[in-house]
């Protein structure tokens, strides 16, 4: 029997002439899977299609073998933490989570709501309406509501936004634990380090396309193997550039506004060799700065490579 919980087959989504998601296919099994990509990559659209909140323009989606825009019964097994910050503001946290439990036909909704709020370290007896809560507290209320009916699938759209470091750690532990309980946890994030701590399996998205999928470490290697760009600041750019060009790990050199811009396949080796090259060229080395050590450039690379 197949373990596939979520199946995307050739899914595209257009908004007028704008392609938000283009021909995306993947399957997700129990455990924690991260959807990784920069802002505007199409992660939230994929999440919305996955949950049935939006219909695909092309392709098919199956959630536990069913069309999520068909029978509402599938929502019994699904918990979503949407990206938007708002929750019904007139309610207290307990009222909101209890209501969520009732709508999901949980027996003992009050007990379930209290337990769920406890999981995210919120006080169920706090009488303040949710509108008075901080962003981080609202985020935790949303997580509590998504877990109150003990769903098999938990979809979390940027769930760590607005949380302080301690709460982030707590939430990461919670999501990891849910994955270990054989639930299917799908987390979207644009923060590489968060994903590294959360999920072993990742789907990398960029410009609406699925750029890579598989084990996190394989993707990380792919990311680390890409050419890196560094800026070298020196008093003798021409002389030093000539020396750098001969280094094996260097694949490109140019001089931009008096500084050397180097493309290298191995930053560590280059960093250690550039000092020797500078000494040989009798150049004063003032600065070696990475120009693309951020996630955006990683995605740019993957977009270019795909």
């Amino acid at each position: 029997m197949s373990d596939t919980v979520v199946e995307f087959d050739g899914v595209s989504k257009f908004f007028g002439g704008v392609v938000a998601v283009s021909d995306v296919s993947f399957t997700i099994e129990p455990g924690v899977t991260a959807l990784l990509g920069p802002n505007g990559a199409g992660k939230s659209t994929v999440m919305r299609i996955l949950c049935g909140l939006a219909a695909p323009s092309r392709g098919t989606v199956r959630l536990l073998g069913k069309n999520p825009r068909g029978a509402v019964e599938v929502f019994q097994h699904l918990g979503l933490v949407p990206q938007q910050e708002v929750v019904p503001e007139v309610l207290t946290a307990l009222e909101f989570v209890t209501l969520s439990a009732e709508l999901s036909k949980v027996s003992g909704p009050d007990t379930a709501a209290r337990r769920s709020l406890g999981l995210v370290e919120l006080d169920p007896d706090d009488a303040r309406p949710v509108r008075t809560y901080s962003k981080g507290m609202r985020q935790r209320v949303k997580v509590a509501a998504s877990l109150v009916h003990d769903p098999d699938i938990v979809v979390l759209d940027e769930p760590l936004e607005g949380l302080d470091p301690r709460q982030r750690r707590h939430m990461i532990e919670l999501f990891t634990r849910l994955g270990e309980q054989d639930r299917t946890v799908i987390v979207s994030s644009h923060v590489l380090d968060e994903v590294e701590r959360l999920a072993s399996r990742v789907l990398v998205m960029g410009k609406g396309r699925l750029l890579a999928s598989g084990d996190f470490h394989a993707i990380r290697e792919l990311i680390d193997d890409r050419p890196h760009k560094l800026r070298v600041v020196t008093d003798k750019p021409r002389e030093l550039a000539a020396g750098i060009m001969a280094a094996a790990e260097v694949v490109g050199v140019s001089i931009v506004r008096g500084n050397i811009v180097v493309d290298t396949t191995d930053v560590a080796v280059f960093r250690s060799s550039v000092a020797t090259i500078a000494k040989q060229a009798d150049a004063r080395l003032m600065e070696v700065v990475p120009l693309d050590d951020d996630l955006e450039s990683v995605f740019r690379y993957l977009v270019g490579a795909s």
């Binding site: 919305r48 949950c51 049935g52 909140l53 939006a54 219909a55 509402v72 019964e73 599938v74 929502f75 019994q76 699904l78 979503l80 949407p82 938007q84 708002v86 929750v87 019904p88 503001e89 007139v90 309610l91 909101f96 209501l99 969520s100 009732e102 709508l103 999901s104 036909k105 509501a145």
Partner: protein, 235 residues
Amino acid sequence: MIGRVATLVARTQLTRGRLIALLAIGGFAVFLGLVTGKGDSPRQISDTLDMTQGYGLQLLAPVVSLVLASAALGDFVDDRTLVYLWLRPVPRWQISVGAAIASVGTALPLVVIPVTLAAYLGSADPTVAAGAAAASTVATLGYAGVFLALGFKVRRALVWGLAYILIWEGFLARSVGFCAKLSISVYARSLLAHIADGELPKHASTITGAVIWPPLVAVLAIILTARMLQTTEVA
């Protein structure tokens, strides 16, 4: 489940600002009844009927229904909290019916009580107050259904709703027979006239039609809203 949805919707609809504004326009109806003064002369009864038709049925009932019913699901769409209702295993018709119950439940007392009270204060003839109660109930039911669907479907439902009240109900339904057949106000005013033995409006309906059509419109609007909930894309 319908009860839970209705309770949530009602709590969201009845903001303090809305409640104060709607109580104020209801209170003005009562003030008009007081000014008219109690009496049983034909002139007094006619004035009270005019006031009930003009202010109660053509302004108070549609405006109160518009403000509350368009917010019933419209507020959830606008602030993007519909997802919390939509993503639960609740049949869409139950959400639609729950929202309709909340709309009618909040709008009816804010319309029927002041309109009936104003008619009672303005006329010694008990059929006027009875007609006002029945007509305002029928009008509120019909308008609540229509504005529930409108609030879910369109942005700026208040503007569209006011345009509908002014142009369709206030102008076209008074002059074009076909439009009168599709006017909640004409049915409500017909019902008032039938019960209170007043002057029937132009293109008036029978008493049976006046009782049946506005609630039927509401039922159709609730079904339409459930259908839209089924097919909508939720932000």
